[in-house]
């Protein structure tokens, strides 16, 4: 049995779930209009992929995600670094962070819509808001968690404060920063889809809701499948980046 390998088993379990799904539908245990079987979703999926009609909404949504995510990472790392290295900055910003962070970001969408309307600006802002905090918190913890021996070594070797931050604190905190960035990526995807569903006129989230409104259930599920693949790919890509950027993580 072990010949399959870990990845092989993962694939197998997905196939088993799909099979069960198909069987449950065929056995008439669910209302087919609410949960169509994979065999009906697949042709709809194929149609979307083959016609290339998936490219525009995908590009839209990913574009928003990317812009908002980049803003969040830059801001999150900068603020996390600042708060970690300066007690003054920490004292100043920490209460603010602790008030805003626990607010479920989807709850802010209606407010943002009032300020920013329903276009790209709102979506990007929502992604940025959601993605900011995991990066910030993880950067902060990463910075604070730098081994004191490393910091003292920097001092005894005569490194300047700036060099210490640049050459020792940042690289040492990098594993935690990347973890935060990975979490943020998932959260950003959730928020952009949600924002598109609640108050937008384009993108994957909007499309899924629209298909539901016109009861095109199978294409709707096909798009959900596409979303699942997108989410998975983003994660895999990120892990590849992580492995290359912090190879010493496991050592």
């Amino acid at each position: 049995m072990p010949e399959l390998g870990r990845k092989g088993y993962g694939l197998l379990s997905i196939l088993v779930v799909l099979l069960l799904w198909e069987l449950i539908c065929r056995a008439g245990l669910v209302n087919l209009f609410l949960l169509p079987p994979p065999s009906q979703i697949a042709p709809a999926l194929w149609k979307i992929l083959a016609s290339g009609s998936f490219l525009a909404p995908l590009g839209q949504t990913l574009g928003m995600l990317l812009v908002g995510y980049t803003i969040a990472c830059v801001a999150g790392i900068a603020l996390g670094l600042l708060m970690g290295c300066s007690d003054y900055a920490y004292g100043l910003l920490e209460p603010l962070v602790e008030v805003i962070r626990p607010i479920p970001k989807p709850a802010l969408i209606p407010a943002m819509v009032v300020f920013l309307g329903i276009g790209a600006g709102m979506k990007i802002t929502m992604v940025a808001l959601a993605a900011l905090f995991p990066v910030l918190i993880n950067t902060l913890q990463g910075v604070r968690g730098v081994d004191p021996v490393l910091l003292a070594t920097a001092r005894t070797l005569g490194c300047s404060r700036f060099d210490t931050i640049r050459k020792i604190i940042l690289p040492a905190a990098l594993p935690m920063i990347l973890t935060g960035m990975r979490v943020s990526l998932s959260m950003g995807l959730v928020l952009v889809i949600l924002a598109e569903m609640l108050a937008a006129d384009s993108g994957i989230g909007f499309l899924i809701l629209d298909l539901q409104r016109s009861f095109q259930v199978r294409p709707m599920y096909a798009w959900i499948a596409i979303l699942a693949v997108v989410g998975l790919s983003l994660n895999v890509l990120f892990e590849m980046v992580e492995d290359r950027a912090v190879p010493w993580r496991a050592k």
Partner: protein, 267 residues
């Protein structure tokens, strides 16, 4: 070398922890001794007596509660460029994302040197510790002893006058320890360094040092300063068999055992 003027003075250094929220503990109680330039002084004492604390105060890494450390007449309030402190946890002091060579290069980087020159200098220092062929390796690929050498090479690259070694050899095996001890003595002679070495190993203290400061347990004081009076250069086998070596060793071990037992009886 000026025999008379002390190079490094430690006067009435006192370190107290706590006191604000709980009970204050005195780690160091009025430590005083002097070190001449070019001397090799070992600091010997039981675990937990505050040897590392003392050495870090000398290094300027932490502040004393009272007392003063002066290097060449100037008080030490922050890590001076002439001094480098080497941590007991040497593997933690190496940057794991940099190669061996890049770790040493850290010292040269903000000096505006060309990349080629930096590489050359790093090569020199690594050669001094016998690691020239490992420059492209990462610290986690090296054994403990080799990692210690990297730390030493890096410290030397900073061109210090004083090296402060905190139990550098306690975590390596016996044979590696002998090799490293010889290496350190070698470098000490070659570069005219002043070295303070913390150890709990009597053999090591006697073998390596000119003088030994024996510390008591907390609150620590200098119980005695002993001159080793052994000929240099020291030899790993021969020196250890000299009568003076054995006698000193005997005295010190007896003293330490006695104090330990006395401590037990009193407690």
């Amino acid at each position: 070398m000026n025999e008379a003027a002390p190079y490094l003075t430690i006067r009435d250094v006192n370190k107290v922890y706590g006191g604000q929220h709980g009970e204050a503990t005195t780690a160091l109680q009025s430590i005083s001794f002097e070190v001449k330039q070019g001397e090799f002084v070992a600091i010997l004492g039981p675990s937990g007596c505050g040897k590392s604390t003392l050495l870090q105060i000398v290094a300027g890494l932490i502040d004393a509660t009272a007392g003063e450390v002066a290097l060449n007449g100037k008080p030490v309030t922050a890590p001076p460029p002439e001094m480098v402190y080497l941590f007991q946890q040497y593997s933690k002091s190496l940057l794991p994302w940099r190669t061996v060579e890049q770790n040493v290069a850290l010292v040269f980087e903000s000096k505006g040197m060309k990349k080629r020159d930096i590489a050359e200098r790093c090569g020199e220092y690594l050669a001094m510790v016998g690691l020239a062929s490992f420059r492209k390796h990462y610290p986690w690929q090296l054994s403990g002893g080799m990692q210690q050498r990297v730390a030493i090479a890096r410290a030397l690259a900073a061109q210090p006058r004083v090296l402060l070694l905190d139990e550098p050899f306690s975590a390596v095996d016996a044979l590696t320890r002998i090799e490293l001890q010889s290496l350190v003595l070698d470098l000490w002679t070659k570069h005219g360094l002043t070295i303070l070495l913390i150890t709990h190993d009597v053999d090591e203290a006697v073998f390596m040092a000119d003088r030994i400061a024996v510390l008591s347990s907390r609150p620590s004081t200098v119980e005695m300063m002993v001159s080793t009076d052994l000929p240099r250069p020291r030899d790993a086998m021969a020196t250890r068999e000299l009568p003076r070596f054995l006698q000193l060793r005997h005295e010190l071990v007896t003293h330490l055992l006695h104090r330990q037992n006395a401590g037990r009886v009193d407690a």
